[in-house]
């Protein structure tokens, strides 16, 4: 009782961020035909960001971007005493669909918000909100997210594996019937070596041959690719 009162009095004279705010984070897939793998939504200290654009991806970011595996990033966040919600959509987030991650009160040290998920079908494309300072005043805030490339795998645009270092794209259901087959691969594609804004996919119109297994008509995109709505209560 006494402790709460003191906290309240401090808050009167200091920043409003010291109040216990709770956060709900809604993520919507805005794309025509891209699926998002399980999301990780984390409130974390500024020192624990997922990546820095222009520099090499961590091996845990690579796992997420190439195969949708967020377990490594989850460990990173746990080690940083972050508060995370993992896989709020309980599987893939389909085009147009939304999901809600309830972060609750992340604590005063977790001032930043990050969200990532792999984009399917891509080689190592992912959506990201990176290390954004959480708003502290109550209200509703909207952010548009762009597509990034982790720079860890060549964008050959053909079927393959999701393990780090495995060439090609993982194709889980329901992508199995939506992604092409027997593509010869984009010539000259290489891993870029640094995280950057994705240049987009080429794709082609042939689902059974051609250079790419990505369907150019339905599985290309323009930014933004996701909308995040943060509600502070």
């Amino acid at each position: 009782m006494k402790k709460t009162l003191i906290a309240g009095l401090i808050a009167l004279t200091a920043s409003p961020s010291l109040f216990a705010a709770t956060y709900k984070v809604e993520v919507q897939n805005l794309t025509r035909g891209i699926y998002f793998t399980p999301l990780i939504v984390s409130a974390h200290p500024a020192s624990a960001k997922f990546f820095t654009a222009g520099t090499a991806a961590s091996s845990n970011l690579q796992k997420m971007a190439e195969g949708g595996d967020i377990s490594g990033l989850s460990v990173d966040m746990t080690n940083a005493a972050a508060k995370s919600v993992e896989n709020p959509a309980a599987g893939l987030l389909a085009p147009g669909a939304s999901t809600m991650a309830d972060l609750g009160d992340p604590g005063t040290a977790n001032t930043q918000l990050s969200i990532v998920a792999m984009m399917l079908p891509t080689n190592d494309g992912f959506i990201a909100l990176n290390n954004m300072t959480l708003p502290t005043a109550k209200g509703t805030y909207t952010y548009m997210l762009n597509a990034y490339d982790s720079g860890t795998e060549a964008n050959n645009e053909i079927r393959g594996g999701g393990a780090p270092g495995a060439a090609g794209m993982p194709v889980p259901p329901p992508l199995e019937s939506l992604v092409g087959k027997n593509g010869t691969g984009i010539v000259g594609a290489t891993a870029e070596g640094f995280v950057h804004i994705h240049r987009g996919a080429l794709g082609d119109a042939d689902l059974n041959a051609g250079k790419s297994d990505i369907n150019a008509e339905s599985q290309r995109w323009l930014n933004p690719v996701a909308r995040v709505t943060v509600t502070v209560e």
Partner: protein
């Protein structure tokens, strides 16, 4: 306990004013009006009359739209002023037939008729002719609203980039209630896909000058049949041999810039 402390913080700093919810707002309003009434006591009787039968207030907005694309004329602009009970479009939801007709053929008639038939709509208007690449056009709106309705006033505007199958651009339910006279609000729009026609890009399916093909067709053959962000056009220059489009018809977001200004009525 927490609640108590937040309450004090509100009074002390005002930092949480927006967070206090409807209750405090309702308390604040009568306080303000009663103090203004006591300052001019002679007007009291007439102003109490007015509060039981409030007058409408005239509002005027100009809405300027610039086409930012290189080769996509925008179909006649369709503008709707409305309250919260109308939605021009929403990502993840199916397009209305009116929006389908606008996004496939560029004709705003059915879209505006749908809005007119909706009790939530306050005013609809349309631009004259195409808005060509690089060009700007300004629509003017004059309305009169009760104060309670101004608090819910929203603007939606849509238009088709005509060298596409079923793309549209625009804004949905932009809040105008906080715009004071003289205030200006500028926003960039992105391209959406109505989800009502497959993006074949073939000559027969694109109504714009690049192809002169068919506009509206009631068949919905796109998957998913939902409004989404547009993925852009491929064009024959980027490997889609059957496309009637070339590199000049490509675009990136944003597609248009919209500037809303509240004017003196």
């Amino acid at each position: 306990m927490n609640k108590y402390c937040i309450g004090i913080a509100t009074l002390m700093t005002g930092l949480f004013l927006s967070a206090c919810g409807g209750d405090n707002d309702k308390k604040a309003e009568p306080m303000m009006s009663s103090s203004s009434m006591s300052m001019s006591s002679s007007v009291m009787s007439s102003s109490s009359m007015a509060s039981s039968m409030p007058a409408k207030m005239p509002l005027k907005f100009s809405v300027a739209v610039t086409n930012l694309t290189s080769g996509q004329p925008l179909s006649p602009l369709a503008l709707v002023l409305h309250n919260a009970n109308y939605k021009a479009f929403e990502i993840g939801m199916a397009a209305s037939v009116g929006l389908e007709k606008l996004a496939e053929g560029g004709d705003p008639t059915a879209f505006l008729a749908e809005a007119d038939a909706n009790k939530a709509s306050i005013l609809t208007t349309t631009g004259t002719g195409m808005l060509l690449p690089g060009m700007s056009m300004t629509l003017m709106t004059d309305i009169s609203l009760y104060e309670t309705d101004i608090a819910m006033l929203k603007l939606s505007l849509v238009s088709m980039p005509v060298n596409t199958n079923d793309a549209f651009t625009g804004i949905s339910s932009i809040d105008l209630s906080k715009l004071a006279v003289g205030d200006v609000m500028t926003m960039d729009t992105v391209a959406y896909d109505a989800g009502t026609e497959k993006n074949t890009e073939s000559a027969g399916t694109i109504p714009g000058p690049a192809a002169g093909g068919e506009g509206f067709n009631p068949m919905r053959d796109d998957t998913p049949s939902l409004v989404s962000m547009h993925s852009g056009v491929i064009t024959k220059d980027d490997g889609l041999a059957s496309s009637a489009l070339n590199n000049t018809h490509r675009w990136d977001n944003p597609v248009a810039r919209i500037t809303i200004t509240r004017l003196t009525p």
